[in-house]
Subunit: 209 residues, 2 copies
Amino acid sequence: MTGRTRSGRRAGDSGTRDAILAAARRQFAAGGYDGTTIRAIAADAAVDPALVHHFHGTKERLFAAAMQLPVVPSELITAVLTAERERSGDGLRAHIGEAIVRTVLMAWDGEDARAAFVGLLRSASTNEQAVRTLREFVTSTILAALTAGLDTVDPAQAQYRAALAASQIVGLAFTRYVLQLEPIVSAGHAELIAAIGPTVQRYLNGDLT
Amino acid sequence: MTGRTRSGRRAGDSGTRDAILAAARRQFAAGGYDGTTIRAIAADAAVDPALVHHFHGTKERLFAAAMQLPVVPSELITAVLTAERERSGDGLRAHIGEAIVRTVLMAWDGEDARAAFVGLLRSASTNEQAVRTLREFVTSTILAALTAGLDTVDPAQAQYRAALAASQIVGLAFTRYVLQLEPIVSAGHAELIAAIGPTVQRYLNGDLT
């Protein structure tokens, strides 16, 4: 079977993969997150939609890959919420805040995290359409996953609570990775989790009045 | 006295003022906040340093004007801390967190606030030197004013506490004014102060362990 390397991958795979990612960036930039389909990205890259699914799975995974995010946010959040639920049984999930801060720090402390975050900020500060795309992505994936996990709180408040939690997480990421403000940068995970975990916990599950 | 308008301002004032602001942007961009002097900005604008002081007062005020910030941060923080101290006497300042969030919302909800914040983000995400300038400005003005006001807490912790508070305030500004994440955008001041005030209060004055 000519055209395949010894590892079994087709010689053109990385080129096709790159073409799909470039098409994804163009389509998300032009149409926002919600308005962009796998089908439109496939058409732009001149490949079959099934190939896009094969390489990247969901639209969220494709967006994460195109933006070089270190993680797929909603999958990470769902994993954390599920683990905490199993750990603490049916009672109040008193450690969700800490678990989320710990998970974020571990995900973002990777080498490429700062570059990815700065890239998102740069696009968000460049034009209105990029802001809209990022807002739709955060709402459709991160806030949706958090809100779905908040099944013990008033549904009418769940979106607000998730957005408050996002405000603190975004602020932590900005001060630690972009602004690099001391002593936030050199603070250890345990110290930051103890300080910021209860904030996220209260936003998700505590008294806000 | 030719060259003066009826209001008493010299006809060339606005041109000189603009030249000083342009020189300030160049000098801050090249030398950072800490390393830039009024004298260097005056030399760049080919005016006497006394004129720069006359128009803009302090270096912080000049930076705020050059970056079109809606407020002069350390002056605002000092005013809030002083007012809260007078209001609550010598006891624990239990409402500093709420007062800071209220002040930030009032300052930033002005028309030009979003443009100024996006401008800072854009420069910070564009290059390393701009990040350094912004970091030095935040540290030398905002954190210094907050830290100075925290005379009831362990001095070794004051800078960390101020930075934690900054992380939440930056996150609020980012989600409300840049990302425009609902329902944070449409939330009223009272609602946001009730939710976020206690976070800032705890960072500045509460138990972090």
